[in-house]
């Protein structure tokens, strides 16, 4: 049973410590990648104008809820947002600027797939106001790209990346490692190549086998061979940190590396547990409304979401206040992903739970450390974050 007090907010505007951003989900892709469990769908025909109208209407709606907040970032994620018509992106961003006061250094990111067709639209996105792209390059050799079900070659991805560099202020790209049969040596070489290309930011994800994906099914049937065991996965993670560090792209988060000051501002809002509005199919949000932090969710199915927006004027399928215990769990779960860790004063503001015994236990075994009023994982604790969280919240 939860007492009424478990719903109270500690600091009514705790979110300000993390800032405010807007996430917009574009749910379509050219093909579904076998590893991907994002809300992405392949559609024969997309009426882009109809989608644009729905996005504008949703921006109006969440704008009214969050009037006057300074918007720090917009993230167009997917799916494959580089399939959007530049005109649609322009209309959306124009609407955004008319709805909120925006920060001087607002970051506007768009996720892009590295094919030549997508690259052909980059100029238009930049003109619409996109300042940063995050490209899903995934691998730098064709054999692995094929195994990952990607539609582009390594050369095509490099070409798209070069265009992006010349068009946008900031460019990041994603790689997936711990692939089938990938050796530590091969990954080291590939990562060095990637670091030579990278400018300010790089996301390096260990391949995760997600339930409900083609890889997930193959794995369950015992047909996805050559995946690293825990020891090799740990080794791969360790060399990744080492090599990226050497190149000056330090990990600021479990899977994200950047030069100082060039971190993804948008993603920092999530990890610093700020507020964000989420619009588009399957988008989630965290919004402090009337002093209570709410979780929001929208319909996942693209057409259902679209019709819901058109008919009822809102795509939200859920908007529920979070208990203080849930907020605290989320605050730690997100915040400890960051190298900087979490602010202890802010942690203790999430109710009068005494975590000191758990924290001390973790300090004893070298998994976390406290310094400068912060709590953070050590280098040893970072690859074990889930275990750390289980014990911390135990």
């Amino acid at each position: 049973m939860r007492s009424a007090s478990s719903w109270r907010v500690v600091l009514p505007e705790d979110w300000e410590a993390g800032g405010f951003g807007l996430y917009i989900h574009w749910p379509f892709c050219m093909a579904k990648c076998p590893y991907c469990d994002f809300n992405s769908h392949v559609a024969a025909k997309i009426d882009q104008n109809r989608w644009a109208r729905a996005y504008l209407s949703e921006i109006d709606r969440v704008g009214a809820l969050t009037q006057g907040r300074i918007l720090r970032s917009v993230f167009l994620g997917g799916g494959t947002p580089s399939l959007m018509d530049p005109e649609v992106v322009d209309a959306v961003l124009t609407k955004v600027r008319a709805t909120w006061p925006v920060a001087n250094d607002i970051e506007i990111t768009l996720e892009a797939n590295p094919t030549s067709v997508d690259a052909g639209r980059f100029r238009g996105y930049a003109d619409a106001g996109v300042s940063r792209v995050s490209m899903g390059i995934q691998a730098l050799n064709d054999a692995d790209l094929k195994a990952l079900g990607r539609l582009h070659s390594a050369a095509e991805a490099r070409a798209a990346f070069d265009i992006a560099r010349s068009v946008f202020e900031r460019v990041s790209f994603d790689l997936i490692y711990a692939r089938q049969d990938q050796t530590v040596g091969a990954w080291k070489a590939e990562l060095r190549e990637a670091l030579a290309m990278a400018i300010d930011h790089l996301s390096l994800y260990q391949l995760t086998i997600e339930e409900g994906t083609a890889f997930g099914d193959r794995y369950k049937a015992g047909k996805l061979r050559g995946l690293p065991d825990e020891d090799r996965a740990a080794d791969l993670f360790a060399v990744t940190q080492e090599i990226a560090d050497e190149a000056g792209l330090m990990a600021y988060e479990v899977s994200n590396h950047a030069r100082t000051g060039l971190e993804s501002r948008h993603n920092l809002i999530y990890w610093r547990y700020g507020d964000y509005a989420g619009i588009g199919p399957g988008a989630h949000g965290r919004l402090t409304l009337g002093g209570l932090r709410h979780a929001t969710e929208t319909d996942r199915i693209p057409m259902t979401w679209l019709e819901r927006v058109e008919r009822f004027g809102s795509g939200d399928s859920l908007c529920a206040a979070l208990s203080v215990a849930d907020q605290r769990a989320e605050f730690l779960m997100m915040g400890l992903r960051l190298t900087e860790g979490v602010d202890r004063a802010r942690l203790s503001s999430f109710g009068d739970y005494d975590l000191s015994k758990n924290i001390n236990g973790l300090i004893d075994i070298g998994m976390v450390e406290t310094a400068d009023d912060r709590l953070r994982t050590t280098e040893a604790g970072r690859p074990l974050l889930n275990a750390v969280l289980r014990q911390l919240l135990g």
């Binding site: 995760t208 993670f237 989630h284 979780a295 769990a329 236990g361 919240l393």
Partner: protein, 599 residues
């Protein structure tokens, strides 16, 4: 009211899986006691655990009405009994309430160890025995050979054994006729003071305590005031009923009849199986002899995972004990585990069943400590004490010598597997006492230490003989041996709940097996964990559970927060099924699993 001549009471007994419950189904069905559409296989096995494991655990009674070929109507009270050796007490108890037994023998398997054990018990109870050869539908059935075997091995006339297939319904009318014509009618005096045997009792969440009785003399009626002779408790009868197998109210029960009563009995302890029930006034003078108490042979501690559930645990244990007189319990405290109970069982399956029932029927998560037998400690000061729990082992300098319980095991095994059995018994410190043949089957008798048998002997026996051997045992006494206490240290801290008594010569091997097993059973932690077995201060086996190296979610963004938080909550709930020892969390299954050996 039914006169004695028209009543027959019998138990169905057999080795495990020979088809007792299936035969009960057919008898229930062909007497029209239950309509065809309401029938299901082994319908008397109503507990979840019975249905899952496909075995009978509790004896069950049904009253059948049968019109015999002689044109007369008979009341037949049937008790279906369990076959597994751990539930033998149910069988002996049931037999006391009836005059005859149907001895079911699987015609494709023949006489097995429990067949023998059951016959001895039935003879002991003065029963008339009707042999029934079942499963004659099977191509492997050899009724003639099995008939011979019954005569050779058991010494029972099997010439008019009834041939049946309980599954396909062959021979069922013959069984019914045999019950009427070959089993004796009960005896009793209707005019004498009430004398009824308390055969069983159980807790029903609607009715409270339900008591099953067999009337020997006199008549019992609804509204009567009755007295339990052992406890002197007095009750007024609220309901009187017979089981068909649902409770059907009845006005009275006379001599020879079996039924149930409820009487707003609050004190679970007031109903003891084997007690004699009489009328409050002008009761009978001499009580029935009662049942031989069951001798629990395996003991272990049961502790609630959540200490706050101790009282719930007490309540559930009392209610279960009501239903199972072969299970004993007393309160226990442990430094690491808090309050719980030290419980005694007839075997490991019995232990597992009770534990499962508490967990399911009462929704309590349990920690089960390492099972142990009872040792006799002869102290230097000349006294003797029982050791139920290795954790209580006193300082060795005070102990003169230790004796352990031994058993006489009877094993029936096809020739081909005899070698494997002899090796198994030898490995378990057995001494061969007898070896005889009946056809192509050998009957081996071994003297074995009980502690080598209780944990996994039965499983091993089954696996080395592909299921063809059967086994029965009786306690035979105590004998001195070189026994030592082996402690298990996890992360350098002794875990009392895992300590055990072992024979010195077997200690190293058992220790090694234990630490290897524990290494697999304990999940990896954020640090490496040494797991050691030690005798006194000397480490005899050691393994190291390496530290967890990677457990982190690669991607976690705004859209994942809810899902990932719920996942974390689920993992935390999983941790609740573990118990903390120092810095280490040990899953509750580990305590029993660690003891089962692979060889």
């Amino acid at each position: 009211m039914t006169d004695l001549a028209h009543i027959r009471n019998f138990s169905i007994v057999a080795h495990i899986d020979h088809g007792k419950s299936t035969l009960a189904d057919r008898l229930i069905q062909s007497t029209g006691t239950v309509a065809d559409r309401d029938m299901k296989e082994q319908m008397l096995d109503s507990m979840d655990i019975e249905r899952e494991r496909g075995i009978t655990i509790k004896a069950n009674t049904v009253r059948l009405e049968y019109k015999a070929k002689d044109g007369q109507d008979y009341i037949l009270n049937l008790i279906d009994t369990p076959g597994h050796v751990d539930f033998a007490y149910e069988v002996s108890r049931s037999m006391r309430a009836v005059e005859g037994s149907l001895l079911v023998v699987d015609a494709s398997q023949g006489v097995e160890a429990q067949t023998l054990a059951n016959v001895y018990q039935a003879l002991d109870a003065g029963h008339e025995i009707v042999p029934v050869l079942n499963k004659i539908d099977l191509p492997a059935a050899e009724p003639d050979r099995v008939r011979e075997q019954i005569e050779d091995v058991i010494g029972l006339d099997a010439s008019d054994a009834v041939l049946i297939s309980a599954k396909s319904g062959i021979g069922i009318p013959d069984v019914l006729e045999a019950i009427v014509t070959r089993l004796p009618a009960p005896k009793g005096d209707r005019t004498a003071p009430l004398k009824a045997m308390l055969v069983d009792s159980w807790y029903d969440s609607y009715l409270g305590v339900v008591v099953m009785i067999r009337v020997m003399d006199g008549v019992i009626r609804k509204g009567d005031s009755i007295r339990m002779m052992q406890t002197n408790a007095v009750y007024g009868i609220d309901t009187l009923a017979v089981l068909k197998p649902q409770m059907v109210p009845i006005a009275e029960l006379g001599p020879g009849e079996i039924g149930v009563l409820t009487a707003s009995i609050k004190q679970v302890r007031d109903t003891r199986v084997g007690d004699t029930i009489t009328s409050e006034r002008k009761g009978c003078e001499v009580a029935l002899p009662g049942f031989k108490p069951a001798q629990p042979v395996v003991f272990c501690g049961l502790f609630p995972v959540d200490a706050a559930q101790f009282e719930d645990l007490r309540d559930s244990i009392e209610k279960l004990a009501l239903n199972d007189a072969s299970f004993s319990y007393e309160m226990e405290t442990s430094a690491a585990l808090g309050f719980g109970f030290r419980c005694g069982f007839l075997g490991l399956l019995h232990l597992e069943v009770i534990r499962d029932r508490i967990e399911r029927e009462y929704d309590i998560d349990l920690i089960t400590t390492a099972p142990s037998v009872v040792y006799h400690l002869y102290m230097k000061d000349g006294t003797m004490r029982d050791l139920h729990n290795p954790a209580d082992m006193p300082d060795l300098t005070l102990v003169d010598h230790i004796e352990e319980p031994r058993i006489k095991a009877t094993i029936l095994v096809p020739d081909d597997y005899l070698g494997d059995i002899l090796k198994l018994c030898q490995d378990r410190r057995g001494v061969q006492m007898d070896l005889t043949y009946a056809g192509s089957r050998a009957m081996v008798v071994y003297d074995l230490p009980l502690n080598e048998v209780v944990f996994d002997f039965y499983d091993r026996l089954k696996s080395v003989t592909k299921g063809y051997a059967s086994f029965d045992y009786n306690l035979s006494g105590y004998q001195e041996d070189a026994l030592v206490k082996m402690s298990i240290l996890v992360n350098d801290e002794p875990v009392d709940a895992l300590s055990m008594m072992v024979h010195r010569d077997r200690a190293e091997m058992r220790g090694r097996a234990m630490v290897e097993k524990l290494k697999d059973l304990i999940p990896r932690h954020m640090f490496k964990i040494p797991i050691q077995a030690a005798i006194g201060g000397k480490v005899i086996a050691r393994e190291t559970l390496s530290a967890l190296r990677k457990d982190v979610t690669a991607k976690c963004y705004g859209g994942d927060a809810t899902r990932k938080r719920k996942l974390l909550d689920k993992q935390k709930a999983g941790k609740k099924r573990m118990r903390q020892f120092g810095k280490v969390e040990i899953p509750q299954e580990a305590f029993i699993s660690a003891l089962k050996m692979d060889s």
